[in-house]
Symmetry: C2
Subunit: 242 residues, 2 copies
């Protein structure tokens, strides 16, 4: 039987995963999907994700290319995946794509949202970052303009970032202001390790009134000039475009 390739759009609750990428001895999203793909395939399987989300990071629209050997139709395969996957992973869409399609290398952009709640909350503390003080949204927006374009973002990369090329092309960076919620939305061709959370941390510092020139931070390439890396539980991979 010949292998077939499928594009899956996936939602998951990152809380109980050690991130996307498969690891021995750890529960990961990719690991769970590989397990189910093996049950559904008569031969080898291959699972490639568009974004390697960290431990605790959620996804509404992660995309994976899944290669397996099956005779099932798209709708039946979708139901089979959802019946076998744990309840913290849900495949929203599945369709067959050419064998050459690779969810990671063919992706043109990834969009993340970082959700900030401008009040203390008991109920939503696992899903939002709580900021119990005023934020200067205008100053934060001005700082965001300095990010758009193709630049070296070393200043926001963690020391664990392995790629030598630190240039990313940020296509869009915006704040959606719906009190008490403030959504930081960012789209780029790719991101460095912990980059979105460190930009979010820098933005919150600026929103609190810290004098920080975003253009200078970027130009410096110096991680110590940027703000703190915010926690993962408020970060969502929302879409991947091809």
């Amino acid at each position: 039987m010949a292998p077939r390739n499928f594009k899956l759009t996936i939602e998951y609750d990152g809380t109980d995963f050690h991130g996307w990428q498969v690891q021995p001895q750890a529960r990961t999203v990719q690991g769970e999907i590989i397990k189910v793909a093996k049950e559904l395939s008569r031969g080898e399987v291959r699972v490639v994700g568009a974004g390697r989300t960290d431990a605790g990071v959620h996804a509404v629209g992660q995309v994976a290319s899944v290669t397996l050997e099956t005779g099932l139709k798209d709708e039946v395969l979708l139901r089979a995946f959802n019946a076998k996957l744990p309840e913290d992973i849900h495949v929203r869409e599945l369709k067959e794509v050419p064998l050459g399609f690779n969810a990671r290398f063919d992706a043109r952009s990834r969009t993340y949202h970082y959700l900030i709640l401008r009040r203390k909350t008991a109920l939503w503390r696992d899903r939002f970052y709580q900021v119990p003080f005023e934020l200067d949204v205008h100053a934060m927006r001005k700082a965001l303009w300095e990010l758009v374009g193709e630049k070296d973002f070393s200043a926001f990369a963690s020391s664990e970032e392995v790629s030598r090329n630190r240039r990313c092309y940020i296509m869009r960076a915006d704040l959606i202001d719906t009190p008490p919620l403030l959504t930081f939305a960012i789209t780029a061709d790719h991101f460095l390790h912990k980059m979105v959370r460190t930009i979010a941390g820098t933005l919150v510092e600026i929103g609190r009134g810290r004098e920080l020139d975003m253009a200078e931070v970027v130009a410096s390439g110096d991680r110590t000039l940027a703000g703190p890396t915010l926690p993962p539980h408020a970060l969502y991979l929302v879409r991947v475009d091809y």
Copy 2:
């Protein structure tokens, strides 16, 4: 020192509580608040809640009257409560009220929301009730009209309901339709045990196309004619009016 009385507006994540009401050997919201009130008082304390939410039910606007002996100002007492309470309880407001104020007996109405998500979800499964099929919102709205007014709601009460008087005055019952979210909002002078969740279960049955005459179900007083009691994790006590 003379006792003083305070009105607290409280948010909590019901997931890890055995409901509001204090019980020996079980973690309850009232129990946690009593514990902190005792730390903050030089004498006896008394904590009365407006709504005795079940295990797993959340609150955005529970109200409690808390009587204690303290010399602290409102703002200082509010900060002290929040500093000492666990992170799944948050006091949103606190103000001193006359000693005679009783959060339970003085309440004129309670408003609950039941949150229905009309799709499968991995990410929000702990906070919404998932309905992965079409719902006839028009038919559900028509059924809701039959509930408004003062009636005997025995048909929706659990067998554990202890009060002899099963009459409640429903002031408002509505559906707020913001796809994929559907919010069932209901306000009454008081509710019987599991009443909101059983009305929600009956509504979903009607939305799925079951031929069920809400007026007849109410008139029958027969619990077996109503729909199932939906799970607690999608129910929120949103406000209490005085």
